[in-house]
């Protein structure tokens, strides 16, 4: 029978609920969800970050599907079709602009979400898999960004992709093969567009949805992580809020604000802001000389700049290779943090990992800024 607080009365929503419950027995689940609570404390606002990332992802999917209606992959049609969308299709400029902005904001939100989880040690037991799926999702987001960037086939993207795939090609043993597979050949051509397009609209979304579902399932099953200081308080002092409807409505509010900000950015800055710039520009021409400044997207800039700083040789290693190795090792440590950080698992403060986190954040920020100043 209907229990909990769901209005199972003569209203339409109640009838619909009864119809479904009769067939699928959702009552127990709904009851369970109704009891879900969210801790309230000074860092509660960080709980919204994951949802904001999800919001931007949803925007990406919707605008991406719309762009698919007119976009044509291929060296002879990609650029022209994007130009067509921006200039001839009604509100095409808006859809494209929102897609570009939402992409960048999603990456930003994902990073903020990850760092907030890190510094509150929310990755600790029992949430190791949530962290790992999250790291995989971040990797996918970066791949989304890299693959999507090439699709307009303009000068900007062509050279950035050439440099990016070239860097990947310096990896030991697998580097050459990897480069050829990424590019669909020795050089960046229409074949590269084909692969990146398949990756961007089919493979990555598929994998992403699966991992995202797991990630969300874990969060729903385990509830929100409690910060250590909060968990150690006596029970009466632990303020909580119900997920349905209180937290959800606040989440919705944040999403609406994000939507509005996105719309304002898309209208006032359709081609980006400052150095984070994506005008359509001129069509890619493999025979033209590269522009004086080739930039990766801002979220790759820190790695790009760090590699530039490395000398040609370190010990017997090639400089770039050394850099890639360091980044890989660092990334692995970061990904395995739930298993390495014993103290958090034991419910104690973990100064070492906090320090590591601060160093990583500083490194990324400094390298990114330097990357733009030193051009």
């Amino acid at each position: 029978m209907a229990g909990g607080k769901m209005k199972a009365d003569s209203k339409l929503s109640g009838q619909a609920y009864r119809w479904i419950d009769e067939r699928y027995g959702v009552n127990a689940l709904v009851d369970y969800m109704g009891h879900k609570v969210v801790p309230v404390h000074k860092h509660s606002v960080l709980y919204y970050l994951g949802g904001i990332t999800l919001f931007f992802f949803i925007i990406q999917v919707l605008t991406g599907i719309l762009l698919l209606v007119y976009y044509r992959p291929g060296a002879e049609s990609a650029y022209e079709s994007v130009r067509f969308i921006i200039s001839d299709v009604s509100f095409g400029w808006l859809i494209r602009s929102m897609h570009s902005w939402s992409a960048n904001l999603m990456v930003l939100a994902a990073f903020l979400h990850m760092f907030s989880v890190y510094f509150t040690h929310a990755y600790r037991k029992p949430r190791e898999l949530t962290w790992l799926t999250g790291m995989a999702l971040l990797g996918l987001v970066l791949l989304f960004g890299f693959s999507g960037y090439l699709l307009p086939w303009n000068e900007l993207a062509f050279f950035a992709t050439r440099v990016g795939t070239g860097t990947a090609g310096t990896m030991p043993i697998i580097g050459e093969k990897l480069l050829v597979i990424m590019r669909g050949g020795e050089e960046v051509t229409g074949a590269t567009i084909g692969r990146f397009f398949g990756l961007h609209v089919a493979i990555l979304p598929g994998v992403f949805i699966v991992l995202l579902s797991a990630h969300l399932l874990f969060v729903q099953r385990q509830g929100m992580s409690e910060p250590l200081e909060w968990a150690n308080r006596p029970t009466p002092e632990k303020k909580q809020m119900k997920f349905f409807p209180h937290f959800l409505l606040r989440d919705l509010l944040v999403w609406l604000i994000a939507l509005n900000i996105l719309a304002i950015l898309a209208v006032f800055f359709p081609d980006g802001i400052g150095v984070v710039h994506w005008p359509l520009g001129t069509k890619a021409d493999p025979f033209a000389p590269p522009p004086p400044v080739i930039r990766p997207e801002w979220y790759f800039m820190f790695a790009f700049q760090a590699l530039k700083f490395l000398p040609p040789h370190i010990w017997f290693f090639e400089g770039e290779l050394f850099g890639i190795v360091i980044f890989t090792v660092g990334g692995l440590v970061w990904a395995l943090v739930p298993f390495l950080d014993r103290k958090s698992n034991a419910g104690q403060k973990s100064k070492l990992f906090k320090l590591f986190g601060i160093l990583v954040v500083l490194f990324i920020i400094v390298m990114t800024i330097l990357g733009y100043i030193l051009e």
Partner: protein, 414 residues
């Protein structure tokens, strides 16, 4: 001693003796002259840059004498010794080879051999050979001597880029030209003209230098009637229009120098739109007035109005288009269309030379229509710009309402 051995020894001895003589096939002229001439401008030093020397000709080939001799007195005794020609002798001196078709055929078949004939028709030639005036230009004055270069070579005094300077050596020298009744302002005027700027500053070899209008060997100012043919070599369309216009006959009857009448000869500058019309500084009213019995005055007025309208239309269209561009809208099509308006303007200005109001007015009308299209389309692009912001404002309003209502609801739920 056996016969063979003797012959061998004798031959070797002969060779040894002959050696200096053989070696003396070298140019003794150069050896001797280089010992006392200035390194910078002595002929024996300059000659390495000369095209004749590079082609294997020696001092003796022009001056006569014998290059193997090392005593100047002996050289002078050689039959056919010509020495240094006087200015009066120079043209024939050079034409000895350059006017000889079969000789030139051996060395450079592509070179013309009519320079002396042409020279004789030129002002320079007639004064030199007729009036014995040695101040005028002869071959050496323009081509130089001992370092003569082909006109295709950039350092040559006859290369197009250097011709104004070469002619100006005399023609821009007031003191030198004091005996003659022609001005000395030509080179200066030319340098300020569109042709001069194109040639001397932009290095556009398609622009005319002095010889392109005056001829080089047959240098003379173009005759009054032949002026439009000369200008028309490049400005073919304007010449064609002019020749079928009423001005052709009128100018001929009045002995006006065709194109030069309005455009000047050396200081040809970019014509301004207000040269055509019925008010200062128009050129038309130099001859035409309201009651002169021709349609000139009203035609000038009509043409001036048509062009002014088009210029204004182009400017206005451009300013609106610029605003659309500045606002970041996609303006490629309209930029294209504006170029077509400019094209119509260029064609309208060319059509002036027909001095016919109808053809000018028709072309100007074409341009006006296009300019109006540009204006209208650019204006709607700007409208779109504002529409986007208004749309955003409206959407923001709706979202803001929802945000506030939601916020209140949240607060109420506690």
């Amino acid at each position: 001693m056996p016969m063979r051995k003797l012959v061998f020894i004798l031959a070797a001895a002969a060779l040894l003796v002959a050696c200096p003589a053989l070696l003396a096939q070298e140019n003794n002229c150069l050896e001797c002259h280089q010992s006392f001439e200035d390194e910078d401008d002595g002929p024996s030093y300059k000659i390495v840059r000369d095209v004749h020397s590079q082609r294997g000709l020696s001092c003796a080939d022009c001056h006569g004498g014998d290059a193997t001799l090392d005593d100047m007195d002996e050289v002078r005794e050689v039959k056919g010794y010509r020495g240094v020609p006087s200015p009066l002798e120079v043209p024939n001196f050079c034409a000895r080879c350059h006017g000889d078709a079969s000789y030139m055929h051996e060395h450079n078949p592509a070179l013309p051999v009519d320079q002396l004939d042409k020279y004789k028709t030129s002002i320079h030639g007639r004064r030199l050979l007729g009036k014995k005036d040695t101040k005028v230009a002869n071959c050496i004055s323009c081509h130089g001597v001992h370092d003569i270069g082909s006109a295709k070579m950039p350092h040559s005094s006859t290369h197009p880029l250097n011709i104004p300077q070469t002619c100006g050596k005399c023609h821009a020298d007031e003191e030198y030209m004091a005996d003659y009744s022609i001005e000395t302002s030509q080179v200066n005027d030319y340098a300020q003209s569109v042709h001069g700027i194109a040639l001397l500053q932009r290095k556009d070899l398609g622009a005319p230098a002095c010889n392109d209008c005056h001829g080089n060997h047959g240098a003379a100012p173009p005759g009054v009637t032949s002026l439009s043919a000369v200008c028309g070599n490049c400005h073919a369309l304007e010449a064609e229009l002019f020749n079928s216009s009423p001005h052709k006959v009128a100018f001929e009857e009045n002995d006006y120098p065709m194109c030069e009448t309005c455009h000047s000869n050396h200081k040809i500058v970019k014509p301004l739109d207000d040269w055509v019309g019925t008010m200062e500084p128009a050129l038309c009213i130099n001859c035409h007035s309201d009651d002169d019995g021709t349609r000139g005055f009203e035609t000038a007025d009509g043409i001036s109005t048509a062009i002014t309208n088009l210029v204004v239309a182009h400017r206005e269209a451009k300013s609106i288009l610029d605003e659309a561009i500045e606002k970041g809208m996609m303006t490629t099509d309209e930029e294209f269309r504006l170029k077509e308006v400019h094209q119509a303007l260029v064609q309208t200005r060319t059509l002036i030379h027909a001095f016919n109001l109808d053809s000018v007015a028709d072309k100007a009308e074409e341009g006006l229509k296009k300019a109006q299209e540009v204006e209208a389309n650019s204006a709607s692009l700007i409208d779109e710009y504002y529409f986007r912001r208004k749309g955003l404002g409206l959407a923001t309003l709706f979202i803001a309402i929802v945000i506030i209502a939601l916020y209140v609801k949240i607060k109420r739920m506690g």
